[in-house]
């Protein structure tokens, strides 16, 4: 009986120790912190209420009639709503198109380069791309007669968030493309041959064979992409620092500012706990969906 426990325990113990001391215990402590005041008295949900009432987190009076800041939660949700369909859709289209293209390997590597780049550099590139003098995109908008978009996007509240979201699409598409490419290679050729015999055209084949066969891959891509969008930090840190005037602030960066600049550990803990609650919803959804498919 003892032997049954001891051998596997020896294999797992080092990993368990590291995970407990570097992930689980500190995470539990953060939850704990979020329920207390600076003086050490129990605060209930007071920290959370304060964070949610703060216009830095939620500023619904401005949304959507006025320009950002709309609050970090709104920014994270908008990020997800724009970035998710764009990267998933574009990744799928590219994977399908690249199946039969000259130099597909080279093209895939180019598109995947964004995923290899440190995101802190990704932020620099986004800022460069949208810079009034050095950047290509504002120059293009000036040339086609849209001077309003011909200035530094990251320097104005109307455009800062949008610049970051579009830039993050450019950086992240390689992920969904590579996973979809792998998924496509597992679909048996005979399915398409049989469909051709039955008279299905290319679009019908895509809709009735390709898309359903890629459902498990899509689940993985959607889960990982939403997690990435919720945790977004580095890009914002180098491109805008959440500015101007909080117009591109996101939850992860807000937590960092509260904790390490303002030294408000309990408020920071409440923001972190809120963010983790959101990511765990995605995590649980992912576990349940993949189990149901097995």
């Amino acid at each position: 009986m003892m032997r049954r426990w001891i051998t596997p325990l020896l294999f797992i113990a080092p990993a368990l120790l590291l995970i407990v001391f570097f992930i689980i215990l500190p995470a539990v402590q953060t939850v704990w912190l979020s329920f207390f005041t600076k003086e050490g008295t129990f605060a209930g949900l007071q920290n959370f209420a304060q964070v949610l009432k703060d216009s830095e987190t939620l500023n619904l009076r401005r949304f959507p009639s006025q320009s950002p800041p709309w609050g970090s939660i709104v920014h994270n949700i908008l990020w997800t709503l724009l970035h998710l369909p764009l990267t998933v859709g574009l990744g799928l289209v590219l994977a399908v198109l690249l199946e039969r293209a000259w130099g597909a390997t080279l093209l895939k590597s180019i598109i995947f380069l964004g995923m290899v780049t440190p995101m802190i550099v990704g932020g620099v590139i986004i800022r460069f791309l949208f810079d009034e003098n050095a950047g290509l995109l504002p120059a293009i908008f000036r040339a086609i007669g849209l001077p309003g978009l011909g200035r530094s996007w990251t320097a104005y509240p109307e455009t800062a968030l949008l610049a970051l979201i579009l830039g993050s699409v450019w950086l992240w598409v390689g992920f969904s493309m590579v996973l979809y490419s792998a998924g496509l290679s597992t679909i048996p050729r005979e399915y398409y041959e049989a469909a051709s015999v039955d008279g299905a055209n290319a679009f019908q084949q895509f809709l009735h064979i390709t898309v359903p066969s890629l459902r498990p891959v899509t689940t993985v891509i959607v889960a990982m992409t939403i997690l990435w969008e919720l945790k977004i930090f580095d890009i914002v840190y180098t491109a805008t620092l959440g500015g101007p005037g909080g117009s591109s602030m996101v939850l992860a960066l807000q937590m960092y500012f509260y904790a390490f600049r303002a030294l408000q550990f309990h408020r920071a803990a409440a923001v972190a706990t809120l963010l983790t609650a959101l990511t765990l919803v995605v995590g649980v959804w992912f576990v349940r969906t993949t189990r149901a498919m097995e």
Partner: protein
């Protein structure tokens, strides 16, 4: 000569245009890094006059307040142990989770998946205090341990799936010959898993190198800052020296790009392997 149907030609033109659009931002920072600031005021895409020099790279490498050269040395010094340690620990754990039946095995595997969802901000303050109390704050030991712990969930999942593809009969035969579990693991499982270990190493090496947040909260001595931490310091508040900033960016991304270029197949297989079964 074989004729190419026109719709196939359109197809190739479309994908190559997309590829071109995707590389333009990288081309932009490369041009900016290779040319003097005076040539960039009207856009890096204007090619006359064209003066190419490595001066910006030298300025970034030896920058007075945040020398990137020092950062790259620090990053190299840090990522190698931050790759080897989790590889050892997670391969042990993956084998333990796969080959032994014990209570709580199911919930433990589930927990590992959920850990993937947690953002690092969730541990930032307590982890800082914990490492400070141990005297490991502002040390690479602390940072390496943190990187190792955060790599364990995905690495264990990936290696467990990889070990599951190995033939069980070889291990059973060794067991009959009297080898114990640890011997089977080190002499049979690890040597036959080299491609899987290479994939995990390629991913972890780039991810630990690319990390910013853990370094940001755990390392603060100016001389100890890793490469990614120095990029924001070169940004400047009002005036941006694009030459230095883009040269530093290229220097910092060179290592992960090199790892990807050399280990491309392992890298992609790793990415697919830990996300898809």
């Amino acid at each position: 000569m074989r004729r190419i149907p026109s719709h196939r030609l359109v197809h190739h033109v479309v994908v190559w245009t997309v590829g071109l659009i995707w590389i333009v931002p990288f081309l932009g920072i490369l041009m900016s890094a290779l040319r003097p600031q005076s040539e960039l005021v009207h856009g890096w895409w204007r090619l006359s006059p064209l003066t190419l020099s490595l001066e910006n790279f030298a300025r970034a490498w030896n920058h007075p307040t945040a020398p990137v050269g020092e950062g790259i040395r620090n990053s190299l010094f840090m990522v190698i142990p931050a790759t080897i340690l989790p590889l050892l620990v997670s391969s042990l754990a993956a084998y333990g989770l796969l080959r032994f039946h014990f209570p709580l095995r199911g919930p433990l595997s589930l927990l590992i998946v959920l850990l993937l969802a947690i953002p690092q901000q969730m541990v930032a303050v307590p982890l800082f205090r914990f490492l400070r109390d141990l005297g490991l704050i502002n040390t690479y030991t602390g940072l390496i341990l943190a990187h190792s712990a955060w790599a364990l969930p995905w690495m264990t999942m990936f290696l467990r799936n990889y070990f599951a593809t190995l033939p069980l009969e070889v291990e059973e035969a060794a067991s009959i010959d009297g080898a114990n579990s640890l011997q089977i693991f080190t002499r049979i499982v690890l040597p036959s898993s080299l491609p899987g270990l290479a994939s995990a190493a390629a991913l972890q090496l780039t991810w630990a190198w690319n990390d910013f947040f853990l370094a940001l909260i755990l390392i603060y001595d100016p001389a100890k800052l890793v490469a990614t931490q120095r990029i924001p310091l070169l940004r400047g508040q009002y005036h941006i020296d694009w030459g230095v900033l883009t040269a530093a960016s290229i220097l910092t991304m060179a290592i992960p790009v090199l790892v990807f270029a050399l280990l491309q197949r392992s890298y992609i297989r790793g990415l697919i392997g830990w996300t898809l079964k």
